[in-house]
Point group: C2
């Protein structure tokens, strides 16, 4: 469907909007400032606009009086668009700053783009699901059950140079019953080995009409699953049958990998963590089965990608030495495991393939991400960035790959920030600050009353505070501005984003100078990591063809804002690619084709890890990046010209 | 030590005896008839002899009176020889029959022979036990534990074209602790695969100075184990460190494979049988560990050989279809299993290799036996016979092998025989019958009071009854003989071997006409099976280079007696080879060298099974063999000449 044209007066600026899209969200994306402090849930009643022309769905709010209502005044957060429309922004919301010349989106892949990329993969599985009819035994053919099956399979596969077919004890235990109960008509599932095939499951009758796998992104915080249709028939319209996501149940035992590893060191800790993550995956698969009605026995295998610690914990392997110098995990290449080995009960005992890891802090999720991004196929050089507690970065092309992990700290996940929180309902995720009034416009996830501020909100807020001149380049507050929102509490300066009347938590939500310090450290670590990688191969940011931003979080980062604070290097917007949950997408690809399995192995093998801990060059770059955007302004020429010089410095002139 | 010369008067026959050997046993072996009806335990007081010259150890028995004692009279069963000696057999024991010109033994392999044959094998194991020192990780070498071990192992094995080294999940779980606790000095155990090596165990420090395996013969009735020294050092003097044997604990659930299979069909039956046999093996290994003081962690793997049913039950696999036509087991080639899979806890979780089976009734024990007999190496044609509940037979040479199983019935194991019993203490195992008085001379196992009669005793007894003219060629009693030992009870004719005063069971031990009928059926089935195999390749018994008698039971069969009853075909005595527990010996060989592993696989693959159930030619041969020795006397020319014509027929002349 075509997009609607939404025009904002008096700016005379038009921005596209989806049918049914919320007007406050459109304004936020368009960079049109509208007062809003309740996150979009309609309680503050500040985000008034007047409909000049067009059709909308809008709920009349008690804070809109009769005369306002008759003039077409409505709350932007309570208004969804139905067609082209023209709105007037009321005086109190107007800013004299021109709208930032923003791209209409961050160039993020849409869900449809992602699905399309999977649908276009021609399946070439390393699991064979095959219907087999056998002749029953007789006194003139007394071949045993297992050898009868192998004999028949060799006949069927004769053109494929089948060397060896192996049947495991667990399958042999089922054979006598299943073969006879099914009148010698069964469907087998076999995994390909270097020597031939290994039969890993057998089912009565012909079950080849359904064939699914579950791809899993095992995140430290969240776990996401996709149920994938694995049939090789042409004309499968949508390979993604269902999706489910939940918090990793290990969250109760610690926020990040370090606290998890420490918990694993306690008596029974490793077992509890193992059971927690297996339980989360189990419930997500149950959820998928329930939502889609897919028969659980038709799920043939799982592919999971996780960081090195999550991969260890899922397999129940000691993670302790990941966090102790010299940071060596128990393994890089996960051993073969099955769902039974880890205690996943929602499906039969089927293989659980895990992505290989590269180092203690560059794990299978990054390998899957690089696979998904396709950067190891191209001649052009890309920089892959996954921003989270540990910012992982990968630099390279089809010929070489360098990687590193920067201990950015948990600031971008809301950790170590006074009112920081995870990106969940009620988290402030977008912020604009009026450069004249210093009043904020905020949007929360789910448009609920604000409970705190999440990563993307923090980046927005930091950038907006800079642009509004609230803070200086070294992160100190400008205490002389005429706004009560900047204040000092217990000798700590802070900016009030929401007063307690508007929050869900019964107190003000603020950003303190210490929060800003933590954010600067986090962004400095990420940037310094990228710089060290580039320097190590004699390249500069301007040599990059693409910057690929991975992770669900990456979806919500505004690259302009990220450049303003110096988190992301400066490149034209079109060179930023936001690929979303590339770990999950990589797991889907790996599941669908052997080609991607080989590629994942190749990528993991190619990646050279640069250890940044105790690295002097990293420390130098880190210190240099502890400034907004950077002590070396030549790294951000356009940003300085377009934003800084227009704002802060103009103010100071 | 040289043997003593024992001379019997008035026969003037000299026979060698071991120092300390029992005189009644020497007489039995020598074919010298001495009255004896208590099995050798001194209660009947009949086996009187008089010492003419020499020194003996003898206990004076109350049934020897003062004057007899002064004349040198003693009980043979209470006398052990100390040097050359001359004895006079008293009148009541004398027979006018000349001593049969027997070989001094059946040519059976002695324990020393068996041990020697193992000691001469140059070990070439398919398990690698290797001490490995690794360099510890550092910031400039952050290789993960698993990959560090693999890297080092590849360096060490570099001249062996190592393609792939795999470490299983269970081992990876141990790695971080063991590597660090041992200061990166460990011993690994790896099994060879077609692709490389699979690391299956890891231990701290250097444990290569001890290296053991346990070979197991999983019999339906008894289970035997040998603890084998696997070190490849030259100069290992004795590879067999210890032996242990016990009844298969499954005995409580049935005497033979058929009753076991039926029991497995009951609720929980299969699990109980599986646990029973695993428990028996577990206890035998504990016993070996206790007896030898060997460290349980130095036992690296198990090799077991059993019949098809035992192999299924040990792995917990449904055996039902073994006994239902068309008799197809779940597998011929056992899948890979470990001690943990079957619940053996005396050792670490190490591989349990099982011999391949050929058909439902020709199992891994027979493959191991054929391997042990070496018949598949030779150009000459041999016949391998394992006499038991199911007599298994194998015919062939290095180029071809045919096999069959004859449902001989349990007669030779004492089953279906009124006073039949297993070969255990108190079982009558040797019988001679005086051809004039029809009085028996019996020896029991352990010289205990008789409780019944076992297989070898039954063969002896049947042959002796024929030679004494007690029964006719069709197994009917000659009711006219002047002896109270032949009598009729409830219309069934029987011969009394022991009167109740002399038995442990409080009643007479007898052989009935029905018993004889069962024995004839059993021997006819064995003989007919051999005949069918030979006929199928156009050979006769006279073409056989060897007849190899396997099984503990085979040790005690007298081939002359077996020929007299027509159980074994007629060949010169020297062509009979008694190889004892060849299943266990085969398992030892398989453990010691890859060469034997390949050979076992080759043998199992070569063996063509001839199904005798519902086989018309077998039925014809079976009927023809229901005669003593056979309806076709041309098959037993020497036997007829030497024994029958001298005895029964002479009597009738």
């Amino acid at each position: 469907m075509d997009k609607h044209r939404i025009k904002f007066l008096p700016l005379d600026y038009t921005y596209p909007g989806e049918h049914g899209e919320n007007l406050l969200e459109i304004a936020m994306k368009a960079g049109v400032y509208i007062n809003a402090s309740c996150g979009g849930n309609g309680t503050c009643g500040k985000c008034k606009v007047r409909l000049i022309d067009g059709q909308v769905d809008s709920i009349r709010h008690p804070k809109i009086d009769e005369s306002e209502y008759n003039e077409g005044v409505m709350l932007a957060c309570q208004t969804n668009i139905k067609g082209d429309a023209v709105f007037e922004i009321p005086l109190e919301s107007r800013v004299d700053r021109s709208i930032l010349n923003r791209k209409k989106s961050h160039g993020a892949l849409s869900a449809a783009d992602v699905a399309q990329s999977l649908n276009s993969v021609v399946p070439e599985l390393r699991l064979l699901k095959l219907y087999i009819e056998m002749s029953p035994p007789g006194l003139n053919d007394q071949m045993a059950d297992a050898e009868r099956l192998i004999r028949r399979l060799k006949e069927i596969l004769r053109d494929k140079e089948t060397k060896e077919i192996n049947i495991e004890l667990n399958i042999i235990k089922k054979l006598p019953h299943i073969l006879r109960d099914s009148d010698w008509k069964t469907t087998i599932l076999a995994s390909e080995t270097d020597l031939g095939w290994n039969i890993i499951n057998i089912q009565k009758g012909d079950t080849t009409s359904t064939y699914y796998g579950v791809a899993v992104d095992v995140g430290t915080t969240t776990v996401c699953c996709k149920l994938i249709d694995l049939r090789s028939d042409r004309g499968i319209e949508n390979r993604v049958i269902g999706e489910s996501a939940d918090y990793n149940a290990q969250i109760s035992y610690g926020d990040d990998v370090i606290t998890r590893i420490m918990y694993a060191g306690k008596k029974g800790g490793l077992k509890r963590l193992q059971e927690a993550i297996a339980g989360t995956i189990d419930r997500l698969i149950e959820d998928l089965i329930e939502k889609t009605g897919v028969d659980r026995t038709s799920i043939s295998h799982l592919v999971a990608a996780g960081n090195t610690t999550m991969t260890h914990l899922l397999l129940g392997v000691e993670p302790r030495y990941i966090m102790i110098s010299p940071y060596t995990p128990a393994f890089f290449n996960p051993p073969f495991a099955t769902t039974k080995d880890v205690g996943i009960k929602a499906v039969d005992d089927v293989p659980l393939y895990l992505f290989p890891c590269v180092s203690s802090y560059v794990g299978g999720d990054i390998v899957a991400g690089v696979l998904s991004a396709g950067m190891a196929d191209k001649e052009e050089i890309s920089l892959f960035i996954d921003i989270g507690t540990n910012g992982e970065i990968v630099l390279g092309n089809r010929d070489w790959l360098m990687c590193a992990s920067c201990s950015a700290g948990p600031a971008f996940e809301g950790g170590g920030i006074k009112d920081g929180m995870r990106a969940t309902y009620g988290a402030i995720e977008q912020v604009r600050i009026n450069q004249n009034t210093y009043e904020p416009m905020i949007l929360t996830i789910g448009h609920e009353r604000p409970s705190g501020i999440c990563g993307s909100g923090l980046i927005d807020c930091l950038a907006e505070m800079i642009l509004a001149g609230i803070i200086t380049q070294n992160g100190r507050f400008n205490r002389d501005l005429p706004t009560r929102r900047i204040r000092e509490v217990d000798n700590v300066c802070e900016y009030v984003l929401c007063y307690k009347e508007e929050t869900r938590i019964g107190r003000d939500i603020t950003i303190t100078e210490m929060d800003i310090d933590n954010l600067i450290r986090a962004k400095a670590a990420m940037f310094a990591g990228c710089k060290v990688l580039l320097d190590s191969v004699g390249l500069s940011f301007f040599d990059l063809h693409n910057i690929i931003i991975a992770g669900g979080f990456g979806h919500y980062i505004d690259p302009i804002k990220a450049q303003i604070i110096g988190l992301l290097p400066e490149l034209p917007s079109e060179r930023f690619k936001f690929i979303g949950n590339s770990s999950l997408h990589g797991a889907c690809l790996y599941m669908l084709s052997k080609r991607y399995v080989s590629q994942a192995v190749r990528i993991a093998g190619m990646m050279t890890n640069i250890e940044l801990a105790n690295n002097n060059r990293f420390m130098d770059e880190f210190v240099a990046a502890m400034f907004l955007p950077h002590t070396d302004e030549r790294l951000f020429p356009e940003t300085m010209k377009n934003h800084w010089q227009k704002n802060n410095f103009n103010d100071e002139d």
